[in-house]
């Protein structure tokens, strides 16, 4: 069994599930005892002890905009466990709570009994303003906001708001030849995520105590964005993985549980006031490498990868590959240095967690659709013959 080195000793993790075997992050190992000792010491210093302890007097009244689909599912549990009063603001279309795979009945019942729900449509600005003003929340976690206008009624409703914690996106960074993206880098006012940028600016201009988190690609159990699921479908079907162009494009995945922990770490943290943090995994990965990592994590043989030129196809509205066709990764060192947060999941390990708790149990969000694959494979077969 490969040595489990280079890994932080796990603190009592709320997600610990006896049915998820920990695969070693075997892509990163030590050579030489002296070196591993020094590096382990280094790792431990990143994490302040007792970072997640909250006394009764510092329990907050928290509202999460959203919270029933992915990030919020994990975040709300952490916050409830810490003794905060947590309300989810949703339209109620999805069940307010669902038992997580691997979550004990006891834990689920406990969570379910404590979580509160405020039913409404956040696009109904009047309702948002009046209902939030009536309740009076200490802290807002805005997990699903896209446009600045959606945030205005929240700020109007809560003049004494202690902290507004926003889920932004690393997608706001201007494309650059110099990577990784640091929080100080230029942002792109024309990007698809400009609503996130405008929200950050609004928060800053309103003088509220805000913190903005910029994730890259998020993955983990219950992911509704077909990131790892896209690979798992193909691996399960024994199909080759079509990757655009060279396959050396570099991307970055961050586990949802690590992201949730980062969100908790900034709560009530004065260092995080008016700060932006990139939150993702510690390392980056090529497209080809990610295909291999998914296979490794899920126990499939190494996949066949077929490279294709996207320009040769018209896929219509369908996406032939789940990632933007460029290098895209961000440095998390600011969060590590200032917040003492560090990701716990390595890539293969995190993908295994996702597989074991979700796809591997037969659950997924989007059914397999190999239409674009067949277009690509059909053409490549023609070229080979």
């Amino acid at each position: 069994m490969a040595r489990l080195v280079a890994m932080q000793p796990r603190q009592a993790s709320p997600w610990a599930s006896s049915s998820s075997p920990l695969l070693p992050s075997s892509l990163s190992e030590f050579n030489g005892a002296a070196l591993s000792i020094s590096l382990q010491k280094r790792r431990r210093t990143w994490q302040p002890k007792g970072a997640l302890q909250v006394t009764a007097s510092s329990a907050k009244k928290i509202l999460i905009m959203g919270g029933t689909r992915f990030i919020g599912v994990f975040l709300s549990r952490l916050l409830v466990k810490e003794g905060h009063q947590v309300t989810l603001f949703t339209r109620g279309k999805a069940p307010i709570t669902q038992q997580l795979p691997g979550e004990s009945d006891q834990d689920y019942e406990d969570f379910k009994s404590k979580i509160l729900h405020l039913k409404g449509d956040r696009k109904d600005f009047e309702f948002v303003k009046t209902s939030l003003a009536a309740e009076g929340f200490d802290v807002i976690y805005d997990i699903n906001g896209r446009e600045a206008v959606e945030v205005e009624p929240i700020l109007d409703a809560l003049p004494k708001l202690e902290q507004f914690i926003y889920c932004s996106s690393a997608g706001v960074y201007l494309k650059s030849d110099l990577l990784p993206h640091f929080e100080t880098d230029a942002v792109d006012p024309k990007s698809r995520h400009k609503g996130k940028l405008e929200t950050e600016s609004l928060l800053d201009s309103r003088g509220v105590n805000w913190t903005s988190i910029r994730p890259v690609y998020i993955y983990g159990p219950l992911n509704y964005n077909p990131v790892e699921e896209w690979f798992f479908h193909r691996l399960k079907a024994g199909r080759p993985i079509p990757v655009p162009n060279s396959g050396v494009q570099i991307t970055q995945l961050g586990h949802v549980k690590d992201l949730a922990r980062a969100f908790v770490t900034v709560l009530g943290n004065s260092k995080a006031s008016k700060q932006v943090y990139n939150i993702s995994g510690s390392k980056y990965v090529t497209f080809d490498g990610l295909a291999r990592a998914c296979a490794k994590a899920a126990g499939f043989p190494e996949p066949e990868i077929v490279h294709f030129n996207p320009k040769e196809f018209d896929f219509g509205k369908k996406k032939a590959f789940p990632f933007r066709d460029q290098h895209f990764f961000a440095s998390i060192e600011k969060a590590q240095r200032e917040l003492g947060w560090a990701p716990e999941f390595g890539l293969v390990e995190g993908l295994a967690d996702s597989y074991n708790l979700d796809f591997g149990r037969g659950t997924f969000r989007k059914p397999a659709d190999f239409t674009t694959d067949d277009m690509i494979l059909g053409k490549s077969l023609v070229l080979q013959s």
Binding site: S28, N31, L39, R42, D177, D185, S246, V248, I250, D288
Partner: protein, 400 residues
């Protein structure tokens, strides 16, 4: 853990706010003082009080330099006489001298050798003016060469294998040297799907530098550290880096880049490496037993670097991508960087030494281009045999 003199200013908020913005002057003026005004810091052999450089306006510099005087070290740099790493010893020596340390540079071979006609050796007079000593010889005889001189710190910036470094390390141990530093190479990391190379990652079993690293670790120096660099730019560089791009760009030739051009590499200004080494000297306890990726904190793609070089030169750029195998050429001879993702990050230095990077490729390349023109390299007649072979096989016309 107070860092003594750091030439790099603390990371400034808008350092990279746009790819072409000028960095705030602070760190640049400091670096100019350290590297281009050696006449200001003259150290006499009797250790009379130093005069501090007058140019930098920040009092932090003189305070830190005073602190350094209290911990003055006697440093021996064993330096290669050629190759991409040669320039590291030169910058390191300059920085140490301007911080008030004593420095001797032992360069491999003979002072009269033709190799000494190339930079950085052509600038060794600057080290002497700054109070440093320069000697030549065979590192295997280092004890004879330095005689009774005592050193606190030794940096081996020469050997790639144990045969070459062992005599130096053994001598250092027996001579009571407290801190032993070694310039290894980030090239020893095993290429993996996950990027970047981080200190502690797997290295290639057969890499000769690895045996040196392991040997040093076993010698029980009070402090030892290993530095793994990649590629460097900077005045005094012995090996072409950005020049390879400038040569083609100023002659309006296409720039042939193997593969997709998306391969990542790390091009650091050598001042980032010397500042890291200096921090290790001044924080020897913290640095003890550590590996440091001795690189800047940004990656650049091959295509990206070509673009930045063209922008620095104010010229048009034409990139041609090719498959070395299909063309039948050795990519190692045809292109200055390894044809693959090769990107290490300086995480240990940031965390353990409080090091910050100052490499700013858009700005640094402008300076490099200015020097390229100043020495008239843009006018030098050149042959591009391998390029021509590539272009011919791709049937690309070169209009002259």
């Amino acid at each position: 853990m107070a860092a003594a003199v750091t030439i790099a200013a603390p990371a400034l908020p808008s350092r990279h706010s746009s790819s072409c913005s000028l960095p705030p002057l602070t760190h640049r003026s400091l670096s100019f003082v350290a590297f281009t005004s050696p006449t200001i810091t003259k150290l006499s052999s009797h250790r009379s009080p130093r005069r501090f450089p007058s140019a930098p306006s920040t009092s932090a510099f003189s305070i830190k330099a005073a602190a350094a005087a209290a911990d003055k070290k006697r440093v021996l740099v064993v330096n290669a006489n050629s190759g991409g790493h040669a320039v590291i010893g030169f910058y390191f020596a300059q920085q140490l001298l301007s911080s008030g340390h004593e420095v001797t540079v032992l360069t491999v071979g003979d002072e009269s050798s033709d190799k000494m006609k190339k930079p950085p050796f052509t600038r060794f007079s600057e080290l002497v003016s700054a109070g440093g000593k320069t000697v030549w010889g065979n590192p295997a005889q280092v004890g004879d060469i330095v005689g009774t001189a005592k050193f606190d710190v030794v940096l081996d910036n020469n050997g790639k294998d144990l045969d070459t470094v062992k005599p130096v390390a053994d001598w250092a141990k027996s001579a009571g040297v407290e801190q032993f530093l070694y310039i290894s190479s980030a090239g020893i990391y095993k290429p993996l799907d996950e990027i970047p190379h981080v200190e502690g990652d797997l290295v290639k079993d057969d890499a000769s530098h690895v045996s040196v690293e392991k040997y040093m670790a076993g010698l029980s120096f009070s402090s030892w550290a290993v530095f793994r660099p990649q590629y460097m730019i900077g005045s005094g560089n012995n090996k072409d880096c950005e020049e390879w791009f400038f040569d083609r760009i100023v002659r309006d030739r296409p720039v042939p880049i193997p593969g997709s051009g998306m391969q990542l590499t790390n091009i650091s200004h050598v001042r980032d490496l010397s500042s890291m080494l200096s921090l290790a000297v001044e924080n020897s306890a913290a640095a003890n037993g550590k590996i440091f990726n001795c690189v800047s904190d940004r990656a650049v793609t091959f295509d990206g670097l070509a673009k930045l070089c063209a922008r620095a030169a104010g010229r048009e750029l034409k990139i041609i991508h090719y498959d070395p195998k299909a063309v039948g050429i050795d990519a190692k001879k045809a292109f200055p960087f390894r044809n693959m993702h090769f990107y290490a990050e300086p995480r240990a230095a940031k965390e353990i030494l409080g090091w910050t990077g100052t490499t700013n490729l858009p700005e640094d390349l402008k300076e490099r281009f200015d020097e390229y023109v100043k020495i008239s390299r843009d006018k030098k007649p050149m042959q591009f045999d391998i390029d021509d072979k590539i272009l011919e096989s791709l049937k690309v016309a070169v209009t002259v």
